[in-house]
Amino acid sequence: MAARGTGGSFTVWWVLVVAQLREQPVRLLVTVLAIALGVALGAAVYLTNTAALAEFGSATKRLFGDADVVVRGPRDGYSEDLFVQLARDPAVAMASPVLELEVALPGRRDTLKVLGLDPFRAAALQPALIGEIGAHLTELLAGNGILLSDSAARELDLRRGGTLPVSVGSGTRILKVLDVLSPAAYPQPLGLMDVAAAQWAFGRIGRLDRIDLRLNPGVDAERYRRDLAERLPAGVLAVAPEVERDRAVSLTRAYRLNLNMLALVALLTGALLVFSTQSLSVLRRRRSLGLLRALGVTRGQLQRALVGEGAALGALGALLGVVLGTFMAALMLRLLSGDLGNGQLRVLGVALHLAPLPMLGFCAIGTVVAGFGGWVPARAAALQPAARSLKGGDQDYTVGHSSTLLGVALLSAGAALAFLPRLAGLPLFGYASVAALLFGAVLLVPALTAWLLKLTPRSGRVVLDTAVAQLRGNVALSTLSLACIIVSFSLMVAMAIMVYSFRDSFDRWLGKLLPADIQLREPVGNDTAFLSDGDQARIAAVVGVGRVEFRRTRQLYLDPARAPVTLVARDMPGPPADNLPLVQSAPPQLQTGASAAWISEGFQDLYGYRIGDPLSLPVAGRQARFVIAGIWRDYARTTGAVVITRRAYVALSGDRSATEGSVWLDGRASAAAVDAGIRSALAGGGTLEIFASTAIRERSLQIFDRAFAITYALEAIAVLIGLAGVSFAASSTALARRAEFGMLRHVGMLRRQVVGMLAGEGILMSLFGVAYGLALGAVLSLVLVYVINRQSFNWSIDLAVPWWQLGLLSVTLVLAAALTAIWSGRAAMSAEALRAVREDW
């Protein structure tokens, strides 16, 4: 075998790979699958996200066109006088008035975005959107007509000449579908109306909620925006059109990062598997490798070939992963709406764009990570003197003492990182903390194992004592199997604690928020449907309704760059803690009076308020002053919410309408009868949704479980990979100790006793690993719950430990470890036991 140069390296590599494949196909398959999983998840998240953002970006671009400044108000709008004022501004070349509404549609839970605009003015700013109005301008101006985008028409199953009923208040208005725009005009669901017709149809006479401005040449847009901001009424903001796009995009950032982190964990697990597989195979082939060295293969060639083996596994896995990921992305885009299921970016019918270059990147990452996993054993094998390899016998890894120090340093760093705030709005330090804690803890395993074994007393039983003695003498090798158990088990524990805590907190939160028997709600986020004063009185008068409470929600813009905050005006009878899931409240003197405001944790985190701080909110076009009287938990809105009393809201705005309500039944009244009563009282009820609280609770938990289904799936996979790792490690240990088994048998130990010793070793090691993994997992769960969760979603979770779940998993893992130890010991001893002794002697 003349192995020289690169060609030589390749030959060496090829010989090794083929031999490997023949010998351990299952192991290789699992390793490849683990890497494929990591790469697939990463690629799918990337593809879905890129496609959705590209779609969203192009849609936003059409919506805002060539505007330099967008003047955006609260969702209930502002006076059109502002438009007149801006249209006359000498710096403004064109001002285009817009009424932008999420319109509620009877019988549908989602809303339709409708733009009411002045085509003569909008044509200069949004040519792509307006271009097709042409033929229908006369009808559009005539009133009561709407043009639908192609996707809206398909979604609503409407054609030219059809009618579109819309909910306004609790009533219904009928719009005429003048035509359907071509798909090129606007890719998302949208309706276009004349601004005058829209103002009238939706009861917004005199109001606008958006004005697009194009400035005269030479006017500094940034400066103009700043100056304009000073002149605008309370709650009205001047923003750059890019901000409108970025705001929506940034909503999903934390969610995307979390998914990417899961992908990274899968990838690292894959690397760990490559490491253990390669360690095992290097041990198995130590004599062939020695022979190759003796035949003239250089140390470098051998190392490259062995690293190449790992990389080959990685490349295969990554390739598979990219294909799998593309399919996953296509499926996700079809089933979900492109926002990875978190419902914050509403984009429909997103087309998947294949991205060859980034996919090549994912292939490279998988290959490199796997190659790195193979590098450690390859280096060890290459450094081994050829003569010693040829002679055979037990292998030994030495773990440097410096690793203990590094471990301590990493643990301390991990602890410190957990206390840092988010970076660029993302919990990056939190993830760094998890990584540091994990690696630090693994590096400490050898030292800890040695120390624990030293403490273990003699039991007086031969099998057990031999097991302990064996472990003592073989700390480094044991570390390999332990690392596998610890990494996978601790991550699993951390994840289980986090999800369980979240579910528990969520469940209690639902209970607090849904104390009544029946909940009423107009479609979330809609701007047109509401319950008038009269509707509310009619609902209260329905037979069977005991007590009823109404709420009004509004969207407020507090910061141009952020998504709107939800203002909730509701009754607050009795102490606030009875009405809201408070996590913190002010002294009682602050909690009463019209000026009390209770902010959600998201509000607190995003805008940096504390209990007792004054808070200024734009209500009905004026800044109203409040004092923060409490902070409550809100799992419904990550972008912040604030509760004020309905009395204060009505006093400020004069608006007595409501969008939500809670109904307590009177005595033995049935929910179904009251539901029917309310519907008939409102003559059908338009878009009003009526739910029994128990049903909402059930459905919410279902949605929760579905949202975490991907997490559960990953957990299961982590357990399987962990078990596979344990079994690989056990086999490699057993294999490395063939000579030792032979010796033990030789000195008179029974086969049963050797197996017993191995089981003892397995149980001891896995007990230790499980205990260590539990402790580490508990620490990691703290970081997940208190740092990563809080920084990603702006809400808190109370720690809750799923004891029985963890107990069951621990027992399973210990048993599995013992069984694999026994099984691999038997395999190692069976036929070759005697040959093993001979090998050494």
Binding site: D66, E80, F83, V84, A87, R88, P97, D118, P119, F120, R121, A123, A124, P127, A128, I130, G131, E132, I133, G134, A135, H136, L137, T138, E139, L141, A142, G143, N144, D194, V195, A196, A197, Q199, W200, I205, G206
Partner: protein, 388 residues
């Protein structure tokens, strides 16, 4: 890109609108108002409601014009325009033509809508400057809904504006201020005589049908003082202008394809307005005019008094339309030749009215000697050019 989109939008709009109000079959050339800068080619697009419920005021003979009331807007009529043309001279002696039009139209909308944006009236403005030194025609246009104080045609006296474009009467003076794309006009026009009522005391027939008529008066020989800005450079200008104001509800008969119109300020202080309406074969379907003598005597001209004879054509390199730009015109006792200030005075208002037409400054000659200056308008020569 934006221009193309807008053209599609408004061209089709104008066609649909005219198709609607005239009740004419689609695809036929309709509603071509005489003496206005507006041609509106019928568009194939637009499903016009068959019979509009809207009732517009009717133009009737025997109705005396009353000033200043009739200087103002008449919103109860379907269409109306204020139209200023004339010649300008800079201090360096440069001669230019200019044209300013404000056009009002009343679309068919639900007038019970209380919204301030309800388009009870639409306003269109167009202005152009013929600049032979540079060999170009400066032009710009706007279309808006009336209302909110941003665009309006006032009743009671002439005051019409779209954003910062404005035409307004104050006593005997009119001021016109239009800061347009690349150029600006800031003119004061002084009337030197009372309005000249066209037709029968301002009742001007446009075709064989009795309802094809408008109320129409002109103010010739207006003296101009003001400034013209081109590409950032402002020059003081003087000159003579012609002012038209016309309103109507039912205009031309469906057989008309276009018209030729002139408004000439004669050097002796007189004034000549003449028009003829052409049929599909180029034949004269109707004609009329007014001749005012320097001493104020007015003679109303009828079809038999008027002949338009083309002498030379100019082919537009942009649209491929051939316009007769040199004419021999007989109007009652006057016989004149018309020579354009420059050949290329083709106007493109596809963005607002959907029309392409020739409208430009012309010299009036008698026996080769100059006797006056004015404007010539040629519409309906581009039937081949239909907007969607």
């Amino acid at each position: 890109m934006s221009a193309r989109a807008l053209a599609g939008l408004l061209g089709a709009f104008a066609g649909a609108w005219v198709g609607t109000v005239a009740g004419a079959p689609l695809g036929t050339p309709v509603d071509v108002p005489v003496g206005t800068p507006l041609t509106v080619p019928a568009a194939a697009a637009g499903a016009a409601p068959a019979a509009s419920a809207r009732r517009y005021a009717t133009v009737l003979p025997g109705h005396a014009l009353e000033f200043p009331r009739d200087f103002g807007s008449h919103p109860q009529f379907r269409t109306e325009w204020w139209y200023v043309t004339g010649w300008l001279q800079t201090r360096k002696g440069e001669l230019l033509g200019f044209q300013i039009t404000f056009f009002r139209t009343r679309p068919d909308v639900d007038e019970t809508n209380p919204s301030a944006f309800t388009p009870h009236q639409l306003l269109i403005a167009h202005c152009a400057v013929s600049d032979p030194t540079r060999g170009r025609l400066w032009q710009d246009q706007r279309i808006r809904r009336a209302g909110l104080g941003l665009a309006q045609a006032r009743e009671g006296d002439t005051e019409v504006w779209i954003d910062d474009w404005r035409l307004q009467r104050r006593g005997a003076d009119y001021s016109a201020r239009l800061a347009a794309d690349g150029f600006a006009l800031n003119l004061t026009l002084s009337a030197t005589r009372p309005p000249m009522e066209n037709g029968q005391s301002g009742f001007s027939r446009k075709g064989p049908a009795a309802e094809s008529a408008s109320y129409y008066y002109s103010i010739p020989q207006m003296q101009i003082a003001g400034s013209l800005t081109r590409a950032g450079k402002t020059d003081p200008v003087v000159g003579t202008a012609w002012f038209d104001h016309e309103w109507s509800s039912d205009y031309l008969d469906p057989g008309a394809t276009g018209w030729d119109w002139i408004g000439i300020n004669l050097d002796d202080g007189g004034a000549l307005m003449a028009f003829r309406i052409r049929g599909a074969g180029g034949e004269t379907r109707w004609a009329g005019g007014t001749l005012e003598r320097p001493d104020g005597r007015v003679r109303t001209l009828d079809a038999a008094d008027i002949d338009f004879t083309p002498a030379r054509r100019w082919l537009s390199p942009r649209t491929g339309i051939a316009y007769p730009v040199v004419w021999h015109v007989r109007a009652g006792p006057e016989t004149i030749d018309l020579e354009p200030l420059m050949d290329d005075q083709e106007n493109d208002t596809r963005l607002t009215t959907g029309a392409v037409y020739w409208e430009g400054a012309v010299r009036a000659l008698r026996g080769g000697l100059p006797v006056g200056r004015g404007y010539l308008e040629l519409t309906g020569y581009g039937e081949r050019l239909r907007i969607r």
